[in-house]
C-alpha cells in the first residue's frame, strides 16, 4: 500500500537524474583497474596464503607484475603467460618464485601466447567463480533445509570483541537469542591496509580482522548454530576499504551472506581516493551479484556527521546513486540493503514523525529492496535508560514502515562496543515491539497532506534538486564539496590513488569478462 502519495513522475525523474549523475563514474570504473581488483582476480584464480611477514602472495605477485609491466594491462595475462613459461601449474608457487625475484613478467607479443594466457586465466578464474556458485547453491540449500528467518525485518546483531575466538561464541549466543544476521566488526585500521591479513586473528581494536580464515571459522560456527536452531543464520562482513574487491571474493568463497558495501563510504569516512573507490566498488558488486550476496549501503553514516533533518535528502540521493550503481553492476533489487538511520535529535519537536516520514520515503522509493534500518547512535549518550527507550522507538519506526533489516540498537552505544547483556536487552526490546506492535502499520495512515506526507514530499523534492545540481557539476565535484556527510573529498586526494591505472588498450580481466 502506498501511504505517501508520491508523484510517480517525480520518482521517475529522480531515478533518471541519478543515472545521469552516476554514468560518468561508471565509465570511469569501466576504464580503470586497481591493485585490489587485480589481486581479487588472482584470488579467484587460485592464489592462496601469505609470506612469513604475513603479506599475502597475491600482493607479492601483483607487485612483481606491476614492477615489470605496470597495472594497465591487468595482471592475468602476464601471470598466466609466466606460469606457462615457467612450466608451473600452481599460481601460488609462481607468486613465491616471483617474490624471490625469479620470474619476469610481460605481455606476450605473439597472438598465440596471448590467447593461451587469456584462456588459461579464464579457466582459472572460472574455477574460482564456480566455487562461488557452489556456495550460492549451498546457501539456498541450507536455507531450504534449516528454514529462513521467521519474519521481516531480519534482526541484525553485531559482535566486536576483537578476537575471533570470543566473537564465535558471542555470535552463536546472539543467534540463539534471536539474531537472523550476525555482523562481525573488523578492526579500526583494516580498511586502510592494502592487503588482507591471513589466518585466524585474536587482535584488533573494536573488532578483529576480516580474513578468509575468520570468515570460514565464523560461517562454520553459524552453520552449526543454524542446524541447531532450525533457521539459517546469515553472516555479514565488510567489502570496503582498500581491499574491497578481494573482500567480495573472499565473501563469495566462504559463503558470507551479506556485505557492507557502499559506493562512497570509503571516500567519505576513510579518506580513500574517489577513483580508487569507484573502480573497486564496481568490481566488488559484480562479484556480490554473482555470489547472491545482499549488500548493505552506508547512508546512515552521513547522519552521524551531518544533521539528520537538514541532510535527509542527501540520504535519498545517495540511495538512488547506490541503486543505480548496483543495478549497473548486476545486482537485483532483493540484494539492495540500502541504508538509512534513526538519527534525528530526539529533542526536536515531531522528531518521531520526521523519522517516520524519512523511513517511509525510503520504503516507498525502493519497494523491492530490503532496506537496512540503522539505530540511533549520534544522539545516544551515557544515559543507558534513555538509550533503551530511543531504541524502542527506533524499532517501532522499523515495524511501522516495513524495513527489511533491523540493525539492533544498543543502549550502551555511547559507551562501549556491545556487551553480552546489551544484546540481550536490545533483543528483548525488539521482540516486545515486533510482537506487540508489529502489525500496527495497518493502522498507521499518514494524514493526507499532513505532516508526514508533506515532509516526505519535501525531502524528495530536495533530493531531486540536489541531483540536478550533481548532474550539472559531476558527482566527483559534489563529493569534493562536502555534499555527503559534510566530508570534503577531492578526486585527486585520498589514499590508494597510486594503486589505480587506466586500462591499456589490451587490458584483460578474466573475471569481468565473465561477469559483465
Amino acid at each position: 500500500m502506498q501511504k505517501l502519495g508520491l508523484d510517480p513522475t517525480v520518482v521517475r525523474r529522480a531515478r533518471e537524474l541519478a543515472a545521469r549523475a552516476g554514468q560518468p563514474v561508471v565509465d570511469l570504473a569501466r576504464s580503470h583497474t586497481t591493485v585490489s581488483v587485480e589481486r581479487a582476480v588472482l584470488r579467484l584464480a587460485g592464489v592462496r596464503g601469505a609470506d612469513s611477514d604475513g603479506i599475502p602472495w597475491v600482493n607479492r605477485l601483483v607487485d612483481a607484475v606491476v614492477a615489470d609491466v605496470g597495472l594497465s594491462h591487468g595482471v592475468a595475462v602476464p601471470v598466466f603467460d609466466a606460469l606457462r613459461r615457467e612450466g608451473l601449474d600452481d599460481v601460488t608457487v609462481l607468486a613465491q618464485k616471483a617474490a624471490a625475484g625469479a620470474v619476469r613478467f610481460g605481455v606476450p607479443e605473439k597472438k598465440g601466447e596471448l590467447t593461451a594466457a587469456r584462456r588459461a586465466a579464464g579457466r582459472a578464474a572460472t574455477a574460482g567463480l564456480k566455487v562461488v556458485d557452489r556456495r550460492r547453491v549451498e546457501r539456498e540449500r541450507l536455507i531450504k533445509r534449516y528454514g529462513d528467518a521467521p519474519r521481516r525485518p531480519w534482526i541484525y546483531l553485531i559482535v566486536a570483541t576483537g578476537d575471533i575466538f570470543e566473537d564465535i561464541p558471542q555470535a552463536q549466543a546472539a543467534a540463539r537469542a534471536g539474531a537472523d544476521v550476525i555482523a562481525v566488526i573488523r578492526s579500526t585500521g583494516q580498511s586502510l591496509l592494502d592487503y588482507v591479513p591471513e589466518g585466524a586473528t585474536r587482535e584488533g581494536f573494536a573488532g578483529t580482522y576480516a580474513t578468509q580464515e575468520n570468515f570460514r571459522l565464523m560461517r562454520a560456527a553459524l552453520d552449526e548454530t543454524s542446524r541447531e536452531l532450525g533457521r539459517y543464520v546469515r553472516l555479514t562482513n565488510y567489502a570496503s576499504g582498500l581491499c574491497m574487491p578481494e573482500m567480495a571474493v573472499l565473501a563469495g568463497l566462504e559463503r558470507l551472506d551479506m556485505m557492507l558495501n557502499d559506493s562512497m563510504y570509503g571516500i567519505l569516512f576513510r579518506d580513500i581516493n574517489p577513483i580508487r573507490t569507484f573502480v573497486d566498488q564496481r568490481f566488488s558488486r559484480q562479484v556480490h551479484a554473482r555470489a547472491g550476496i545482499i549488500i548493505n549501503t552506508g547512508e546512515d553514516n552521513y547522519l552521524t556527521t551531518a544533521d539528520a533533518v537538514e541532510a535527509a535528502h542527501t540520504v535519498t540521493v545517495s540511495q538512488l546513486l547506490n541503486e543505480f550503481f548496483a543495478h549497473e553492476a548486476g545486482l537485483a533489487d532483493w540484494q539492495l540493503g540500502l541504508g538509512h538511520a534513526f538519527e534525528i535529535n530526539p529533542e526536536l519537536p515531531e522528531s518521531f514523525r520526521l523519522e517516520l516520514a524519512h523511513a517511509l520515503l525510503a520504503r516507498e522509493l525502493f519497494p523491492d529492496a530490503p532496506l537496512k534500518w540503522m539505530p540511533p547512535t549520534k544522539h545516544m549518550t551515557g544515559d543507558v535508560f534513555r538509550g533503551n527507550l530511543l531504541d524502542g522507538f527506533f524499532n517501532l519506526v522499523g515495524a511501522l514502515t516495513g524495513q527489511g533489516i533491523l540493525l539492533v540498537g544498543m543502549m550502551t552505544e555511547a559507551v562501549v562496543t556491545p556487551w553480552l547483556s546489551d544484546r540481550d536487552i536490545a533483543l528483548q526490546n525488539v521482540r516486545y515491539v515486533l510482537n506487540g506492535a508489529g502489525n500496527l502499520h495497518e493502522d498507521f495512515v499518514p494524514a493526507p497532506g499532513g505532516f508526514i506526507q508533506s515532509r516526505a514530499h519535501e525531502v524528495l523534492g530536495e533530493a531531486v534538486e540536489l541531483l540536478e545540481r550533481i548532474v550539472d557539476d559531476t558527482l566527483l565535484e559534489a563529493i569534493a564539496d562536502g555534499t555527503f556527510g559534510i566530508m570534503k573529498r577531492p578526486a585527486d586526494r585520498g589514499k590508494g590513488l597510486d594503486g589505480v591505472a587506466k586500462h591499456a588498450e589490451d587490458y584483460f580481466n578474466p573475471v569481468t569478462e565473465v561477469l559483465a
Binding site: A160, T161, D163, E166, Q170, T381, G382, D383, V384, F385, T412, A414, V415, V416, T417, P418, W419, L420
Partner: protein, 244 residues
C-alpha cells in the same frame, strides 16, 4: 568454576554498570565525587558516562567500569531447597498415610499490607505459573484470611483452626515494614503458645532475604517466584518428614 568475575564482552573483564544520585550540584567536583564513590565500590578504572543535574542540588550519574572484586561461588550463602519437591499426589498421599488427618494451614497478609496477589497465588486453587494453589490439595485444609489482618486475629484464627502452619505474606518493604510485621507476628505466637504447640511459621514476599529466618523468628522464608508445590513440599517435609 569457583572464582568468577563479572563479564562484559570478554572473559575476566570484570565490567559492571552502576547508577546513583548524589546530593551535589552538577560540576566537575560532583563528577569527581561520583568517580570516588565508584572507586570505593571497587570500580577501577571507573568511566563516568552520564551526569544529569536534577532539581536543586542533585545529580544523577551512570558509571561503567571494571570491578576488581572476585566472586567465590564456593562461599555463596543461599537457602538451598533441602527437601524433595513432591507432586500433589505424593503430598496428599503422605499426609493421608502419615498424618491421618488433613493438614491445617492458615494464611494471611498482615499489618497494613493489602497485597494479596502473592499469598493468593500460593493458596487459591488458581495458583500461579501453571501450578494449582494449596486449596487444590485434598489433604490440606486452607483458611485464607485475606489482607490487612491484625496479628491478634491471626493468632486467634490459627488457634481456632488448629493450624499446623501459618503462612504470612509481606509485600510492602518501605522502612522495613515487612521485617517489623514479621517480628511482631513471631513474637505473638511465641507468647501465645508453648514451643511444642506452635504452628510452623512461614513468611513470604518478593523482597525478603531468605537467610533471615532465624533472625525473624520464623521457620522458613520464601522469596520471589515461589510456587505452591514448593511450599506444600516444604510443609510435608517440615511437619511430617520424608515420604516413605
Amino acid at each position: 568454576m569457583t572464582i568468577v568475575r563479572p563479564y562484559g564482552d570478554t572473559t575476566g573483564d570484570g565490567m559492571v554498570q552502576v547508577s546513583f544520585t548524589l546530593p551535589l550540584v552538577h560540576d566537575k567536583r560532583a563528577e569527581g565525587a561520583a568517580v570516588q564513590l565508584a572507586n570505593k565500590m571497587g570500580l577501577d578504572p571507573a568511566m563516568l558516562v552520564h551526569a544529569k543535574p536534577m532539581g536543586e542540588g542533585f545529580t544523577f550519574f551512570v558509571v561503567y567500569g571494571r570491578v576488581n572484586h572476585l566472586v567465590d561461588t564456593e562461599k555463596v550463602q543461599v537457602v538451598e531447597r533441602d527437601f524433595p519437591l513432591l507432586s500433589a499426589k505424593e503430598i496428599n498421599a503422605v499426609i493421608k498415610r502419615r498424618l491421618r488427618r488433613r493438614l491445617s494451614v492458615v494464611g494471611a497478609c498482615i499489618g497494613t499490607d493489602a497485597h494479596t496477589v502473592g499469598i493468593d497465588a500460593i493458596l487459591n486453587v488458581k495458583g500461579i505459573a501453571g501450578e494449582k494453589g494449596l486449596e487444590y490439595y485434598r489433604e490440606l485444609s486452607v483458611t485464607n484470611m485475606g489482607a490487612q489482618v491484625s496479628v491478634p486475629d491471626l493468632v486467634e484464627t490459627a488457634r481456632a483452626q488448629k493450624a499446623d502452619a501459618v503462612l504470612v505474606s509481606q509485600v510492602v518493604t518501605q522502612r522495613d515494614a515487612h521485617l517489623h510485621n514479621t517480628r511482631a507476628m513471631s513474637a505473638a505466637f511465641r507468647e501465645a503458645m508453648p514451643a511444642g504447640k506452635r504452628p510452623l511459621l512461614i513468611v513470604g514476599g518478593p523482597r525478603f532475604d531468605e537467610l533471615m529466618a532465624a533472625e525473624l523468628g520464623v521457620d522458613r522464608i520464601f522469596g520471589r517466584g515461589t510456587t505452591p508445590r514448593e511450599v506444600a513440599s516444604y510443609l510435608v517435609h517440615a511437619l511430617i518428614g520424608a515420604p516413605k
